[in-house]
């Protein structure tokens, strides 16, 4: 399906109408003429926190979706697609806000022209939105939610069933979930020869779930878990906690949480308590994989590890490299970790709309949802992958980033398929 990307490129150059777009994946194939024509229309929306510490990242994600659409001349096959960007953050909260997430989902649920939802960014927000959009039968593709419980058992009791009141699944994600990300953290410890760990989380859906997954895999790999605590994201400092952890003399500290919950302060106090990142490793998840962290924590961030449920731009497929070039040519912004994932989500969504129209002769939420789940052996910027029956990606390769000279740099990539299989 390399052809699709090429067509997309050519379309951007304005010669798309000469080419036939081949349908992609799961038997939903068909033929459609490219180029603008009178015809059906559909709307897709994205929902990200556009205010707060993650703003620089989420803005590139919105632009990546725009780029995906522009490359197809605003068309998914014969369907003219409108795109709208929603913001699920409030200035007051400085990050995503539960009430705002619910409000966005409810208002979109009532608009029949909307057939696809890209987002959200935060797993806690997804937990609010999925049930609302599930009742509305709207297909979702998240580029960034990693909490395991959203699609698979293994999180809190009642998950994931409680998110799907109709019993039908409507939620997918192109990012690798936390069972694998947690496993990556533990595998990293194993590879580095760290034997003991102290686990912290930020008491949120995402952070706590991730720390649980990490803990499971760590125990499986024979790593000693010295303790587990949940930090208060608005505390003034964590000196007492770090003093206590220092006493336990762990080889590493794992933090499951997001940057908004004071990760910078946590790092400062960790190093301040005499546990330098060389003596006691610090491992965090993609929730703190934000350049802002380096600004907040300063020198204390030097040498920390961050797991990322995907690959950084330099490790992406050939299509991925092409995307990076196009993106940087079009927008005066640096690519952020999730930018490519938003682009992939947009392309999967647009392909699904195209196939749905070809199969049904009409674009309905039902048809788009069916085609999203039918995505199989998709060759995109992330490599070749499919959605499994839970809506999770089949990719298993993650990356480990390390802060060197004040910058996140790729430390290694890890394939966790063996580790995850052994835990399950």
């Amino acid at each position: 399906m390399k052809g699709i990307r090429k067509v997309g490129m050519l379309a951007a150059l304005g010669v798309a109408s000469a080419l036939t777009v081949a349908g992609c994946g799961g038997g939903g194939g068909g033929e459609g003429q490219g180029g603008a024509a009178e015809g059906p229309t559909a709307t897709i929306v994205s929902d990200f926190p556009l205010q707060g510490a993650n703003r620089a990242q989420t803005e590139t994600m919105v632009n990546a979706i725009r780029l995906a659409l522009e490359e197809r001349d605003g068309m998914a096959g014969e369907v003219t697609v409108e795109y709208e960007s929603l913001d699920d953050a409030t200035a007051q909260a400085g990050q995503w806000d539960e009430a705002k997430c619910a409000e966005n989902a409810q208002s979109v649920a009532q608009r029949d022209e909307v057939v696809g939802w890209i987002g959200p960014f935060n797993s806690g927000c997804a937990a609010v939105e999925i049930p609302i959009l599930n009742e509305a039968g709207l297909g979702m593709i998240s580029p960034a939610n990693t909490a395991i419980g959203l699609t698979k058992p293994g999180g809190e009791p009642g998950e994931p069933e409680r998110y799907y009141p109709t019993g039908e699944r409507n939620y997918t994600r192109v990012i690798i979930a936390d069972d694998k990300q947690g496993a990556a953290g533990a595998t990293l410890m194993d590879e580095e020869g760290f034997e003991s760990v102290y686990i912290l989380d930020d008491r949120e859906t995402y952070g706590q779930g991730l720390a649980d997954q990490f803990e499971r895999t760590a125990e499986e790999l024979g790593i000693e878990v010295l303790g587990r605590d949940g930090i208060d994201g608005s505390a003034s400092n964590y000196r007492s906690l770090m003093e206590r952890i220092a006493q336990e003399q762990p080889d590493a500290i794992y933090f499951g949480g997001i940057i908004e919950n004071n990760a910078g302060q946590l790092l400062k106090d960790k190093v301040g308590a005499g546990m330098s990142n060389d003596d006691v490793a610090f491992i965090g998840p993609d929730g703190i994989f934000v350049d802002e962290l380096l600004n907040q924590a300063g020198d204390a961030a030097e040498g920390i590890y961050v797991t990322f449920g995907g690959l950084p731009e330099e490790e992406l497929s050939d299509e991925g490299q092409e995307f990076v070039e196009n993106f940087e040519a079009q927008y005066n912004e640096d690519i952020q970790p999730y930018t490519a994932y938003a682009y992939e989500a947009a392309n999967v969504m647009l392909d699904a709309i195209e196939r749905a129209y070809e199969a049904d002769g009409d674009v309905t939420r039902e048809g788009v949802l069916r085609e999203i789940f039918a995505t199989e052996d998709y060759e995109g910027v992330l490599g070749e992958w499919s959605f499994d029956e839970d809506g999770d990606t089949t990719l298993t390769e993650l990356s480990i980033q390390r802060v060197e000279d004040g910058q996140f740099t790729l430390d290694r990539t890890l394939d966790v398929s063996d580790t995850v299989a052994s835990v399950e």
Partner: protein
Amino acid sequence: MTTGEATKNRSGALLEGIRSSSWQSRAAVAVVAVLIVLLLVQGVRDPGQFTSQLLIGLTNGAIIALIALGYTLVYGIVELINFAHGDNFMIGSFVGLTVLSGTLFGLGLFSPISGDSGAALKIAGVLIALVVAMAACGAINVGIERIAYKPLRNSPRLAVLITAIGMSFILQNLGLVWKGPAQVPFPDLISSANALPGDTIVFRWKDVFVIAVTVPLLLGLSYFIKNTKQGKAMRAVAQDKEAAAMVGINVNRTISITFLLGGILAGASGVMYGLFNGITVFNVGFTQGLYAFTAAVLGGIGNLSGAVVGGLLIGVIGSMADQYIGVRWTAIVIFAVLVLVLVFRPTGLLGDRSATQGGGSDRA
């Protein structure tokens, strides 16, 4: 002979006190005693650890105490809980940060003072940041009183309370507009190295800094209230506004000065908080303000020594809970202590509204 008699009387009074006490308060005393014994056992088992945590608690508590003083000072005079105080504290930390960055309204006045600057420049930077923030927050607090509280002085209590909450939100949102919603780092001007020899007990230069700012401010405030004419006027206004006015005290000016003092404390603690923790954020005033307000109530609102005791106590309880119980439980422990204290001593540990009237005597 007389001393013997006195001791006997005293122990007799104590026995009488125990006999007349309710079973609840006996149980409470027993629980507190058990807790203290448990803590001491831990302290003996690992004295270095215990002392380090105690010191961490005391320095964290000192910052809370300094904010709490602002609440209690104002309450003592006008019986108003100035909710905007915590946010004024946040503004103080932002002002300090701006001074250190050397840039105001896009104008680069001087190059930023950072961790790499020379020692003299660092000291000067810290002092200037403190003074500017104290002046700014003092002025803001006086302004708030003039605009939002003074016109409502004779209105129902609830009206002033709501304007106080309103001012709190206004300041918080100004901070949000000013520095954005993400946490902002402070330059690392004060060394985190241990000021004590050896490394069993950790007391960093940053901790020394907190004590070096807090103690003189406390002593200065206490001197001002006890020994100056203006302090005397404040105590008089606290006792009875009308009577004070009758004897020729300018009540409006006295109240303004009280708010000025509260603002100065907020400014100082804001800069100190930033330099000490290294990070500040627009809603820091809400959480820190909540703890400070709790400290003021715990010690007895209106009582200056009470605010200090309450602040230190919350700091120490927090660090001990972090160490011996678990971080998840810390907030629960702190507020459980508050509830317990208020149930048995509704006026707080040291009693209500007495400091501005001349010290820590229990008036309740």
